[in-house]
């Protein structure tokens, strides 16, 4: 039975949550000129970031975390995700503002470097990020951040438990579930089954107005965010073709080898 890590007055457990503003998961994506159309399209908090926020707020409610900070690296309009984060229970927020033109080419490595820079300043005990963003689907920012700050990582987390200066992370892997125990500070990447996020209640929406947002332009951080990847092509997935019924095994073999080319 683990002893709960109860911070004393001298020990403050700080949790930072990375939040990304993305095209809402329910929107039908349209591609034009090798770009995903984002004009007049509904934007929301990335679903995995919502799960990360929920976990952090629960840690605060259990009195394990004493402070929860939300961070986003994004365009000026992205401050709406920070307002949501504060309405859900974060104490404060940091907005690293990226000019609209740069936002499209901002890569996970650049974001990880920005977060690593903030790590030096904030010195949190725990980073909770979503495992991937539903627009880029890189799924690499948490791992890159952990590498840059030389911290242990617990990715694809379906359960976390903080105790005695460590965090036990249950990871969903191909073989089933794996439990790792990490020394703090650590980076956790939230997966789908970690929790069911709440929606903000009305009182906290109003309280969120008074919470501070620290807004800083990205170029003032002294971080190299130069992109290393060039997007060559973006296209919608091919329309699904109807299946066919084959009459014999020979026909099946022929189709698999000569049409689908999988044999």
């Amino acid at each position: 039975m683990s002893l709960m890590y109860r911070p004393t007055a001298a020990q403050q457990m700080k949790v930072v949550v990375g939040v990304k503003r993305v095209v809402d998961y329910s929107v039908k994506i349209r591609v034009k000129d090798n770009k995903v159309q984002t004009d007049n399209v509904k934007m929301s908090v990335n679903p995995f970031c919502e799960i990360a926020l929920e976990e952090a707020v629960r840690l605060k409610e259990k009195k394990i975390a004493t402070e929860v900070i939300a961070v986003t690296v994004g365009v000026k309009k992205a401050d709406d995700v920070l307002r949501t984060a504060m309405a859900l229970g974060c104490d404060k927020a940091i907005h690293i503002v990226v000019p609209d033109a740069e936002a499209a080419t901002l890569e996970p490595l650049a974001v990880a470097k920005v977060l690593a820079k903030l790590h030096e300043e904030l010195k949190p005990d725990l980073w909770i990020l979503g495992k991937q963003a539903v627009d880029g689907d890189f799924g690499s920012t948490p791992q890159l951040l952990a590498g840059l700050i030389d911290a242990p990582q617990g990715t694809f987390a379906s359960e976390i438990a903080v105790a005695d200066g460590k965090v036990k992370v249950t990871r969903e892997i191909d073989a089933g579930r794996q439990v790792v125990e990490l020394n703090l500070p650590a980076v956790v990447a939230a997966d789908l089954r970690l929790n069911q996020p709440r929606f903000p209640n009305l009182q906290s929406i109003m309280k969120a107005r008074k919470k501070p947002v620290d807004t800083r332009p990205i170029d003032k951080l002294g971080v190299d965010t130069k992109p290393h990847l060039a997007t060559v092509k973006v296209e919608e997935p091919a329309a699904r073709k109807a299946g066919i019924k084959v009459k014999t095994v020979e026909e099946l073999f022929d189709k698999l080898r000569n049409e689908a080319k999988v044999l």
Binding site: D80, R83, T84, A87, F199, P200, N201, L202, Q203, I205, M206, K207, R209
Partner: protein, 405 residues
């Protein structure tokens, strides 16, 4: 007008400075409230809605969750345990709830736009401090005006409040009281002196946990909004201290008329939500269902009908939003409110009726939800001022603009 506090309503900035914003513009907080209430409705109300309608009973879990979500004290300030938002916020919440369930929507509408609103506008500081926190956190309230012999002719009411020393003794019956089955706080319109006509009508706050003699009679079996309790209430020698008079003796008629003008916008919003909910339940089906090798939504006859419906819902919504903004801005809104309620109730009935037809046979069954929106829409033309009363009111406004004085 006794405002609870002069709260600075957030500025609606348009893209062009100096230009008023379109009336569909919402502040960031309002957008968050809207999506928050939508999530609430989908998570807590939607799974229970068929059962609640069939049993004609509001699930206690829905009521509990509504209190927890801050939906029962939307405009109540934070220092009285409320959510501290504007009237427009209530309107948005009512619409999002009605998109899923008209009955849940009206429960929250009455609590916010009638009960809480009477305290904001007419109660003294002691009454506000005593009742508003409870209404925001755990107690349902109701507005008791209608009696068996007085509906539209509200001020022919007979419930009597006899002064006895420092108290009043209430005797009489009310009917068709929304929330009557679950409420513990009752705002009762009674007359202290029948000879004074409407000038004797006074508004009393009765708390059934403090004052004895309030009982719930029958709960009506209704066509629609079945899960909303519509109760007969009996007041049998209910002794109420004089400090429970809201505003002043004889001011009850003014309170009732003014509060119903505001509550009307809430009902209009409920109707917009019902119309929208019916569309939401129907439109996807039109593109799944194929007849004669075509999605039924692609037949021109259908296209023309659903385009018309979408237009009418949009128009009704604009009327509701504008009326609510005018109220929050302290501008005259009585005519806007009457028009919004009259139109929105008509749109809800027409839309829901058409939706059933578009769905065909399945539209006639309970599981597809649309028939419930049709039944729920009908009350819009009746409560909080019948459509004929709205027309009567509007005619006066129109005449005033043209008739020679």
């Amino acid at each position: 007008m006794n405002r609870l506090l002069s709260r600075s309503v957030p500025m609606l900035c348009s893209a062009v400075p100096g230009l008023p914003a379109p009336c569909t513009t919402l502040t960031e907080d309002e957008k968050m409230l809207q999506s928050s209430v939508r999530e609430f409705a989908l998570q807590h109300v939607q799974p229970r809605v068929l059962k609640m309608d069939e049993a004609a009973k509001m699930d206690p879990v829905v009521i509990q969750e509504a209190f927890k979500a801050g939906l029962m004290g939307i405009e109540t300030p934070a220092d009285l345990q409320g959510s501290g938002m504007s009237f427009f916020g209530s309107i948005l919440a009512i619409e999002q709830l009605a998109r899923v369930d008209g009955a849940t929507s009206v429960m929250i509408d009455v609590q916010n736009t009638l009960v809480n609103n009477i305290f904001f506008r007419y109660a003294n500081a002691a009454q506000k401090a005593k009742y508003l926190p409870r209404l925001a956190q755990d107690t349902i309230g109701c507005f008791c005006l209608t009696e068996p012999s007085s509906g539209s002719d509200a001020f022919a009411l007979k419930t009597r409040a006899e002064k006895k020393g420092d108290s009043y003794v209430l005797n009489g019956s009310k009917i068709f009281i929304t929330n009557g089955g679950e409420a513990n706080i009752f705002l009762v319109m009674a007359t202290v002196d029948p000879s004074k006509g409407y000038k004797g009508i006074t508004c009393f706050v009765v708390d059934s946990r403090e004052q004895k003699g309030v009982s719930v009679g029958r709960l009506e079996h209704k066509l629609g909004i079945r899960a909303s309790s519509t109760a007969e209430l009996n007041f049998d020698n209910v002794v109420v201290p004089a400090e429970n008079v809201i505003s002043e003796v004889g001011k009850g008629y003014k309170i009732a008329i003014e509060i119903l003008n505001e509550g009307r916008i809430g009902i209009a919003s409920q109707m917009v939500g019902i119309a929208q909910g019916a569309m939401d339940a129907t439109m996807p089906y039109l593109f799944q269902r194929k007849q004669f090798n075509t999605a039924i939504g692609d037949f021109q006859g259908m296209q023309f009908q659903y385009a018309q419906a979408a237009m009418e819902i949009h128009a009704a919504r604009l009327m509701v939003y504008n009326a609510a903004r005018k109220k929050d801005n302290g501008e005259a809104f009585v005519e806007d409110a009457a028009m919004a309620k009259l139109f929105a109730s008509q749109v809800a009935e027409r839309t829901a009726s058409k939706c059933i037809e578009w769905m065909g046979g399945v539209g006639f069954t309970k599981e597809y939800h649309v028939e419930r929106f049709y039944r729920d829409a009908k009350i819009g033309a009746i409560y909080e001022g019948t459509s004929n009363i709205q027309l009567h009111t509007l005619a006066k406004f129109v005449k005033d603009r043209y008739a020679q004085k």
